[in-house]
C-alpha cells in the first residue's frame, strides 16, 4: 500500500485520516503559476493601460510570459486530480456554492482574453510575416492573420482601442483570478492557518512581485542570449515596482500573522510550536530573510547609491531570483504549512514530498519548466523585442 500513498509522521494528536496529506507540491506550484500570470500581466498593463513608457521594452514580452504561464496552469491541477478525465464535470455541472466551481470558467475566459490580446499586439508582425515568408511559414502566418491584412493607420487605431479595452478587462481578470485562488484557501474554516480575510490580498500582492521578478530575470536573460544591452531605465522601473509591492506584501503578511497570534484562538499553542520549529527554515530564513529582506536591502542600496551599469543589472536580477524563491516558499508555507498543522489543533504533521511519482518534486519541477519551454517557442513565432516590433 505504501506505493499508492505516503503517510506523514506526526507529533501530538492528529486525526488518523490527516496522516495522508491531501494537497501536495503540485498544489504549491498551481497558485505559484497563477501568481506569475497576474504579476507579468501587471507589468504589461502598466505600459498598455497606464502608459509607463519605460516599460515598453518588456511590455509585449511580459504578455507572452503571462500567456505561457496561464496555458500551464491547468497542468498541475490535472496531474493532482484522482480522475483528471472528469475535470470538465466542474464546468458541465458546476456546483456553484463551491469556491472552486467557477475556476474553470474564469481560467478559460482569461486564456481567451490573453490569446486575443496577444493576437492584437502581434497582428502587424503576423501580417508582415504572412507577406514576407514563403512555404509553410507563410501559410502558418496567413492562418494566424485570420484573413485580415489591413495594417493601415486607421486599422491600427482600431486595434489600439481593442488592446486598451482588453488590457483594462485583463486587470480585474488576472488579479481576480489570483485573488480567487487566495479565496479558495482563505474561505476554508477548517484550517486556522488559511482561514483569513487577508489571504486573497496576500496572494495577490505576492503574485505581483513574483511576476515582476520573473519578467526582470527573463528580460535580462533574453538580452544576454540576444547579445543586446539591457535597457537600464526599464529595469529600474521594474525594480522600483518590485520594491514597492514587496513592502506592501510584507506589511500585509505581518499584519495577518500578528492578528493570528494576537487573537490567540484555539490551537494557537500548536501554531506557535509550528512557527518556532518546522517553519524556521522555510519561512524565517528562506521566505523572509533570504527571499524578502535581502533583496529589499540590495535594491534599496542600489537606489540609494545610484548604482548603474553591470552592478545594477546583477544586483536587480539577483534580487529578482531571490524574490522568485521567496514567493515559491510563501506558496509552500501556506499550502503545505496549513496541512501540517492538524485540524485537531493538538498536533503537527511533517510532510516530506517524494521525489518521483505523479505528485513528486520532479513532476512539480517539470510543471515549472513547461512555461519556459513554451516561451522559448512562442518568442520565435511572435518576437516581442523592441527592435523587431518597433
Amino acid at each position: 500500500m505504501d506505493a499508492i500513498f505516503h503517510a506523514s509522521p506526526f507529533t501530538g494528536y492528529v486525526y488518523p485520516n490527516e496522516t495522508v496529506i491531501p494537497w501536495t507540491v503540485l498544489i504549491v506550484v498551481y497558485p505559484y503559476l497563477t501568481g506569475l500570470v497576474a504579476g507579468a500581466f501587471t507589468i504589461s498593463s502598466l505600459y498598455q493601460v497606464f502608459g509607463f513608457q519605460q516599460l515598453r521594452p518588456v511590455a509585449h514580452f511580459a504578455l507572452l510570459i503571462s500567456l505561457c504561464c496561464m496555458l500551464t496552469v491547468p497542468l498541475p491541477l490535472l496531474l493532482h486530480l484522482g480522475h483528471p478525465e472528469r475535470a470538465f464535470n466542474a464546468m458541465i455541472t458546476p456546483h456553484i456554492t463551491s469556491a472552486f466551481a467557477i475556476f474553470g470558467y474564469a481560467a478559460a475566459f482569461y486564456i481567451i482574453l490573453l490569446v486575443l490580446e496577444t493576437w492584437f499586439v502581434f497582428r502587424p508582425h503576423i501580417v508582415h510575416q504572412a507577406q514576407q515568408q514563403t512555404g509553410v511559414f507563410a501559410w502558418f502566418y496567413r492562418i494566424l492573420s485570420l484573413g485580415s491584412n489591413d495594417v493601415s493607420e486607421k486599422a491600427m487605431r482600431y486595434d489600439r482601442k481593442w488592446l486598451f479595452a482588453l488590457a483594462i478587462i485583463g486587470i480585474p481578470g488576472a488579479h481576480g483570478l489570483h485573488g480567487y485562488v487566495g479565496f479558495v484557501f482563505g474561505s476554508l474554516k477548517s484550517r486556522e492557518w488559511w482561514s483569513s480575510d487577508l489571504m486573497p490580498v496576500i496572494f495577490l500582492f505576492s503574485a505581483i512581485i513574483s511576476g515582476t521578478a520573473l519578467v526582470i530575470v527573463l528580460y535580462v536573460l533574453s538580452c544576454k542570449l540576444r547579445k543586446v544591452s539591457v535597457d537600464l531605465a526599464c529595469l529600474k522601473v521594474m525594480a522600483y515596482s518590485l520594491w514597492g509591492f514587496m513592502m506592501f506584501t510584507l506589511l500585509i503578511e505581518g499584519v495577518e500573522f500578528a492578528s493570528l497570534v494576537y487573537r490567540g484562538r484555539e490551537g494557537i499553542e500548536v501554531i506557535m510550536e509550528f512557527v518556532k520549529g518546522p517553519l524556521v527554515v522555510p519561512f524565517f530564513i528562506l521566505q523572509f530573510g533570504v527571499g524578502s529582506v535581502l533583496p529589499l536591502a540590495v535594491i534599496t542600496f542600489l537606489i540609494w547609491r545610484g548604482t548603474g551599469g553591470t552592478a545594477l543589472i546583477l544586483g536587480i536580477t539577483g534580487s529578482a531570483i531571490l524574490v522568485l524563491l521567496a514567493v515559491l516558499m510563501m506558496r509552500y508555507n501556506v499550502v503545505i504549512g496549513g496541512q501540517e498543522i492538524s485540524k485537531t489543533a493538538k498536533g503537527l504533521l511533517a510532510y516530506h514530498p517524494p521525489f518521483f511519482g505523479r505528485e513528486g518534486l520532479l513532476a512539480a519541477g517539470i510543471v515549472l519548466v513547461v512555461p519556459m519551454i513554451l516561451l522559448s517557442v512562442i518568442v520565435r513565432i511572435f518576437p516581442p523585442w523592441e527592435e523587431v516590433t518597433a
Binding site: 500513498f5 488518523p16 491531501p22 494537497w23 484522482g82 483528471p84 464535470n89 455541472t93
Partner: protein, 283 residues
C-alpha cells in the same frame, strides 16, 4: 435452509441491493447534472443539489426518514470492533491511515492539564496490532497515574450544513433528503477540496478508486431497515442510530433522555452525531 444457504441468500440480496443502489445514485447524479445545467440560478439557492428525485430503492422513501447518530462515550470500552466491522462492511483499505470510523482514547494523567489522545494510527497502537485489519489500543498507560480516561468513537457527522458539500466543485458529494451526506464515486473528480473543508477529519482519499471516501452511515443497510455495521457490532451499545421522525427510535430516546452535545458547533456545520460523556479536550 441451513446457515450457509441463508448467508448466500443474504449475500445475493445485498449484491442486488447494492447494484440497485449504485444505479439509483448514478441516476440521481445524472438528474443533478441535467438540472444544474438548465437552472444554475436555482441550484445556487439549494444546499442539497443532490438528486431532486429520490433514488429508486425498492420500498424506501427517503422523504419519510431523518437519520441521526448517537455516541455514548460513557459506555465505549475501546474494543474497536466497530472500526474492524466498518472496514470490512465498506471495503475500506485495511491500513491504519484510512478510516470511515475510528476511536480516540483520551487519558488525563495526574498533574497534567490536558488529556493525551491517541488512536489507531498511532505507531505504538499499530505495533500492538498483530494482523492487518486488526486494531488494538496498546496498554501504554499501565504504569502511569491515570486521573481520568475514556474512549470517543468518531465518524462523519453528516452535518446539516456540510462544509464538504459546499466546496465540492461538481456536486458529486451531496446531502440526501433523509439527512445523509453521500459521495457519488462515479462523478467525483478527486480534487480533495472536501477533505480539506471537513473540520472533523472524517474524509479521506481512496487512492485505488481516485475519489474521496467517508462514512455513509452504511446507507446500503439503513435503507433496508438494518443498523449501520458499527452500531450492530458494538457489544456495549455505545453507538446509537435511528430515525428522528420516529419518537420511539433509539436515537430519539437517546437525545430525549440525555444532555447531548455536538463536536465543534462553532463551525456552523450543525453536526448530526450527538455525544454524551465527552470532555473538554474532545474536538
Amino acid at each position: 435452509m441451513d446457515e450457509n444457504e441463508q448467508l448466500k441468500e443474504h449475500e445475493k440480496d445485498r449484491r442486488d441491493f447494492l447494484s440497485c443502489l449504485g444505479s439509483a445514485i448514478a441516476c440521481g447524479a445524472a438528474t443533478v447534472a441535467a438540472s444544474s445545467v438548465s437552472s444554475q440560478a436555482t441550484a445556487a439557492t439549494q444546499e442539497t443539489t443532490a438528486a431532486s428525485q429520490p433514488p429508486a430503492i425498492p420500498g424506501y422513501d427517503w422523504s419519510k426518514h431523518h437519520w441521526a447518530f448517537g455516541v455514548d462515550a460513557e459506555k465505549c470500552i475501546g474494543c474497536l470492533r466497530c472500526v474492524e466491522a466498518c472496514k470490512r462492511e465498506n471495503n475500506v483499505s485495511l491500513d491504519p491511515h484510512h478510516f470511515r470510523t475510528w476511536v480516540e482514547r483520551n487519558v488525563l494523567l495526574e498533574g497534567e492539564d490536558n488529556a493525551r489522545i491517541d488512536s489507531q494510527h498511532d505507531p505504538v497502537n499499530i505495533a500492538a496490532s498483530t494482523a492487518e485489519g486488526e486494531y488494538r489500543f496498546a496498554n501504554r498507560y499501565k504504569d502511569a497515574n491515570v486521573e481520568k480516561a475514556f474512549f470517543v468513537p468518531k465518524l462523519c457527522n453528516h452535518c446539516t450544513h456540510p462544509a464538504c458539500v459546499q466546496v465540492c466543485p461538481t456536486g458529486a458529494t451531496y446531502k440526501t433528503e433523509d439527512g445523509v451526506v453521500l459521495i457519488d464515486h462515479t462523478y467525483c473528480i478527486g480534487c480533495q477540496y472536501c477533505v480539506q473543508a471537513c473540520p472533523y477529519g472524517a474524509r479521506f482519499f481512496n487512492e485505488e478508486k481516485g475519489v474521496t471516501d467517508k462514512c455513509t452511515w452504511c446507507y446500503h443497510r439503513i435503507t433496508k431497515g438494518l443498523q449501520p455495521a458499527c452500531v450492530e457490532v458494538c457489544p456495549v451499545g455505545a453507538r446509537v442510530f435511528g430515525d428522528r421522525n420516529d419518537k420511539q427510535s433509539p436515537i430519539s430516546q437517546f437525545i430525549q433522555n440525555n444532555r447531548v452535545r455536538v463536536l465543534r458547533p462553532e463551525t456552523g456545520n450543525a453536526p448530526n452525531v450527538f455525544y454524551v460523556g465527552i470532555d473538554k479536550d474532545v474536538t
